[in-house]
């Protein structure tokens, strides 16, 4: 598999070709601290992997989960390993630290860190290298840092294990590290635990713990996945600084767009193999392998409304016939001239209207949290309204208000021109059929005792109609007898959409419907929603934290921050010329594929 072996330096951008010694960079990470191995000059790649195979159990060498993988990373270079869940990318990352796990076997022609082979290294040998020669940054620092220990201790651990520094010296070094990763108030932070920090702060602390000894190689496994886009951008900035200081970085991610920002080279993994590799720009501009093409096509940011993100997954169904005029109208954000057939003409143009919605919650300390603050918008028939905001912005509370799961403190929701909030549930119940909902956690939204068939029959009454619904969302009838737990994430979300459609709703409220899915599955679900909207004339409220997704699916968008609307308007205009600084910040942070 020599094609997978790539040499460093093929990328664009400023890659230091030096030895990664300190003092070459005037940035914040300049060498105030001696590197653990400052004395010995390093030659060649920081990491060299040739013919790596890893598997579990059985006869070593059979059924590998990682199959004959080769790559190398030079000092100051960033290699991104990109793949969907189950592609073997995380296992690859851990194997590089000898942490593949209990019962695993590893075979490689060559595996060396900083020029020294680590093949056949015993546990004690690995322990001496981990943290000193190679550092690891995991996803979601809430659980990747011990929640019972102050982060100062966690960060100081590597110093405790690998140096003979006194406790006082370690504490001072920890404060320096906190400052380096951009966490001010080091004294205060060092005494806090991961639960007391925000997501971005935690991730910084985790990075500080990994770079405490300035290892020449850093491996980051989905380091930004759980973070808001603006925070994600800052963390990537931090990695960029580390790169400039000469650290070699292996970045593991499911999101091609995220890594393309800082990766010099990209390796695409699928089924335990590296299927394609190359300089980032070149690979994105001219992908060779089908998997790479699929992943690139699945990135929604900057893709016009209505374009498919996934390959047609149901060849037996003819493409729905779309009136080109309607399509143009949808793309341009205006209302289709002809109302879709399933809608009664009397209902008017606006199907959903929120005016002055306010909702607050009592906090444990008796103060009130204003989750939704004076939010107003309208949803026009047959269009999609995107509601975008970061975590904690009140998106989910807003969805619950729209679904009348909670009453608003003030303001009103009107559905199809009639009062929706503020009326007794008994009066609302018969009208609920007009409003369907698609949830982020589809699995939790199904009764765990019921099979897919029972879930659908609960709503539509007959098995025939269930099959019809399943077909509608691209699921085979064989799914009927299975429980949601046995379905894949994409199948669950399709089932969720099928159930939402069962009542023949005119409006769908989608609350983060694709956040839990792999990129290509996300693309399929987005395409499905788009197709359904066109076929059935649905009106969609699409709530998401992902600006790229919202841009792709929405005709109009509403940007909310801290429960208030900061900007709204047609998707095109808002994205072209954002008026509010918050929107601009969000937009700048959206990971995009570089345009070739």
């Amino acid at each position: 598999m020599s094609g997978a072996r790539v040499t460093g330096g093929g990328g664009t951008g400023p890659i230091p070709t030096g030895t990664g010694s300190t003092g070459t960079d005037p940035g914040t990470l300049s060498g105030t601290v001696p590197r653990a191995d400052a004395a010995k000059p390093r030659r060649g790649p920081a990491l060299l992997v040739r013919g790596l195979s890893v598997g579990f159990g059985g006869v070593p060498g059979t059924n590998p989960l990682i199959d004959d993988v080769s790559f190398e990373v030079a000092p100051g270079e960033c290699l991104a390993i990109v793949g969907e869940s189950g592609s073997g990318k995380s296992l690859t990352a851990r194997s590089l630290l000898g942490l593949a796990g209990a019962g695993s076997w590893l075979h490689a022609d060559e595996l060396s860190l900083g020029g020294a082979s680590v093949l056949g290294l015993g546990e004690a040998g690995w322990r001496r290298r981990r943290g000193r020669d190679v550092g690891l940054v995991l996803q979601d620092a809430l659980v990747s840092l011990d929640p019972l220990r102050p982060i100062g201790r966690e960060i100081g651990d590597a110093l405790r294990l690998h140096t003979s520094l006194s406790a006082g010296a370690r504490a001072r070094r920890v404060l320096e590290l906190l400052a380096e990763v951009g966490l001010p108030d080091g004294e205060l932070r060092a005494g806090q635990r991961s639960g007391q920090l925000s997501g971005g702060q935690r991730q910084r602390a985790l990075i500080a713990a990994a770079i405490a000894l300035r290892p020449p190689l850093l491996i980051a496994d989905e380091p930004t996945t759980a973070l808001d886009v603006t925070v994600q951008a800052r963390i990537l900035d931090l990695f960029e600084e580390l790169l400039r200081a000469g650290t070699a970085l292996v970045l593991i991610s499911h999101d091609l767009a995220v890594v393309s920002r800082i990766a010099d080279r990209v390796a695409v993994m699928s089924g335990g193999r590296i299927v394609e590799t190359g300089a980032t720009r070149a690979l994105l501009a001219d992908p060779q392998h089908a998997e790479t093409k699929r992943m690139i096509a699945a990135v929604p940011a900057g893709r016009p409304r209505g374009t498919r993100l996934s390959a047609q997954d149901r060849p037996h169904r003819p493409e729905p016939e779309i009136d080109p005029a309607v399509l143009t109208a949808i793309v341009s954000g205006s209302v289709p001239a002809t109302a879709p057939t399933s809608v009664s003409a009397a209902a008017g143009r606006v199907v959903l209207e929120a005016s002055g919605l306010v909702k607050s919650f009592r906090m444990p300390n008796r103060s009130r949290l204003l989750a939704v603050n004076d939010v107003s918008f309208t949803l026009d028939r047959g269009t999609t309204l995107g509601i975008v905001g970061e975590s904690g912005s009140g998106k989910t509370t807003l969805a619950r208000l729209l679904l009348a799961l909670e009453p608003p403190d003030a303001g009103e929701v009107r559905v199809l021109g009639e009062a929706w909030s503020g009326v007794p549930e008994r009066a609302r119940r018969p009208r609920r059929a007009a409003l369907g909902a698609v949830y982020q956690d589809a699995l939790a939204s199904f009764d765990p005792r019921l099979t897919a068939g029972a879930i659908l029959r609960d709503v539509v009454g007959s098995a025939d109609q269930s099959v019809e619904l399943l077909d509608r969302v691209g699921l085979a009838a064989s799914v009927l007898g299975r429980r949601p737990l046995e379905l894949s994430g994409g199948q669950r979300q399709r089932l969720g959409i099928a159930r939402a459609l069962a009542n023949r709703p005119q409006i769908l409220i989608c609350d983060e419907p694709v956040s839990a899915l792999d990129m290509t599955v996300q693309a399929q679900v987005l395409d499905l929603l788009d197709e359904l909207q066109r076929d059935l004339g649905l009106s969609l409220v699409f709530i998401s934290h992902d600006l790229g997704v919202v841009q792709h699916v929405s005709d109009r968008i509403v940007v909310i921050e801290n429960g208030s609307v900061v900007e709204s308007g047609g998707t095109g205009p808002v994205f072209a010329a954002p008026a509010h600084p918050y929107t601009r910040r969000l937009l700048d942070a959206v990971p995009r594929l570089p345009t070739p």
């Binding site: 679904l403 799961l405 949830y439 939790a444 939204s445 009764d447 765990p448 005792r449 609960d458």
Partner: protein
């Protein structure tokens, strides 16, 4: 906390931890052994003659205090009765007490827990205080108090154990109900326009009561131990009844000379309790991953 809540928590934790390992459906050696023993108990309950053809009350003074042998697997007692026969025939009354007590505890607990979880603030508060008061009589104390009021005997011992275990069941079921009621799938049903009664009957109650089978299986072990303890203290079944606790109580006098009189009835109590735990966990795993 109660023994039962811990057992239930452990069964859940073990099932969750195994779920990632694709061995959830595998049946282990321990489960097979537990099932075999449970089968033996079942036969001994329904047709004790099949496993032990002798008469449990047949006295033979000449062969008193015989150590275990091929003729008397578990030895003989002070009147020459065969201990194996007595233990096997005692299965019925021992299990009867354990199962009945579990059903009482479970029933009482299910009603209390459901009522508390469903009827809201005032009832919930009252029931919670009541449970706290019952928990303040830890372990056997509540059963002892009950026996003091209603007098000793197998029937009161059964009721007493049932009552003493009820708060544990009640709290688990209440917690389950509260979590099911606020779960995403109940909200999803609301959004679909289902009526409250239908949501209650179709989703909330079945999911709340689903763990009862597991709880009951786990609880039988504890109930049998407690019932045997009461018999042992002379507050439940009395010798010469062939009930395990009563046999142990009778064997106490001869502990230094005829260990087998105490050992084997106790062994059956222990094995029953272990089987209940193992099978309860197996059922939990099944339910979670079926």
């Amino acid at each position: 906390m109660s023994d039962l809540e811990i057992q239930a928590g452990l069964a859940g934790a073990a099932a969750r931890r195994r779920s990632g390992r694709r061995i959830a459906g595998r049946i282990g050696v321990t489960e097979v052994l537990a099932a075999v023993f449970a089968l033996f108990l079942l036969v001994a309950t329904l047709a004790p003659g099949l496993v032990a053809p002798g008469d449990p009350l047949a006295i033979d003074p000449r062969s008193a205090f015989q150590a275990p042998s091929w003729a008397h697997w578990f030895g003989t007692d002070e009147s020459g009765r065969d201990v194996y026969t007595r233990v096997s025939h005692g299965t019925l009354s021992s299990l009867q007490i354990g199962v009945a007590a579990t059903l009482i505890g479970l029933g009482f607990g299910a009603v209390l827990g459901t009522v508390a979880g469903m009827l809201g603030s005032v009832v919930d508060f009252t029931v919670n205080r009541l449970l706290e008061v019952m928990f303040a009589f830890p372990g056997l104390l509540l059963a002892l108090l009950f026996i003091m009021v209603f007098g000793p005997g197998p029937a009161t011992a059964t009721l007493a154990v049932g009552l003493a275990t009820a708060p544990g069941y009640a709290r688990i079921i209440r917690a389950q109900l509260v979590s099911v009621r606020s779960s995403a799938f109940v909200e999803a049903a609301t959004v679909l326009g289902r009526s409250r009664a239908r949501i209650l009957l179709r989703h909330i109650l079945p999911n709340t009561l689903a763990p009862l089978l597991v709880l009951g299986t786990l609880g039988i072990g504890q109930a049998i131990i407690w019932a045997a303890a009461l018999s042992y203290l002379g507050l439940g079944a009395k010798p010469p009844a062939a009930e395990w606790g009563a046999m142990l109580s009778a064997g106490r006098t001869y502990l230094s000379t005829a260990v087998w009189m105490s050992f084997f009835p106790g062994l059956f109590v222990v094995l029953t309790a272990i089987s209940a735990t193992v099978l309860g966990r197996a059922v939990e795993r099944r339910l979670r991953h079926a």
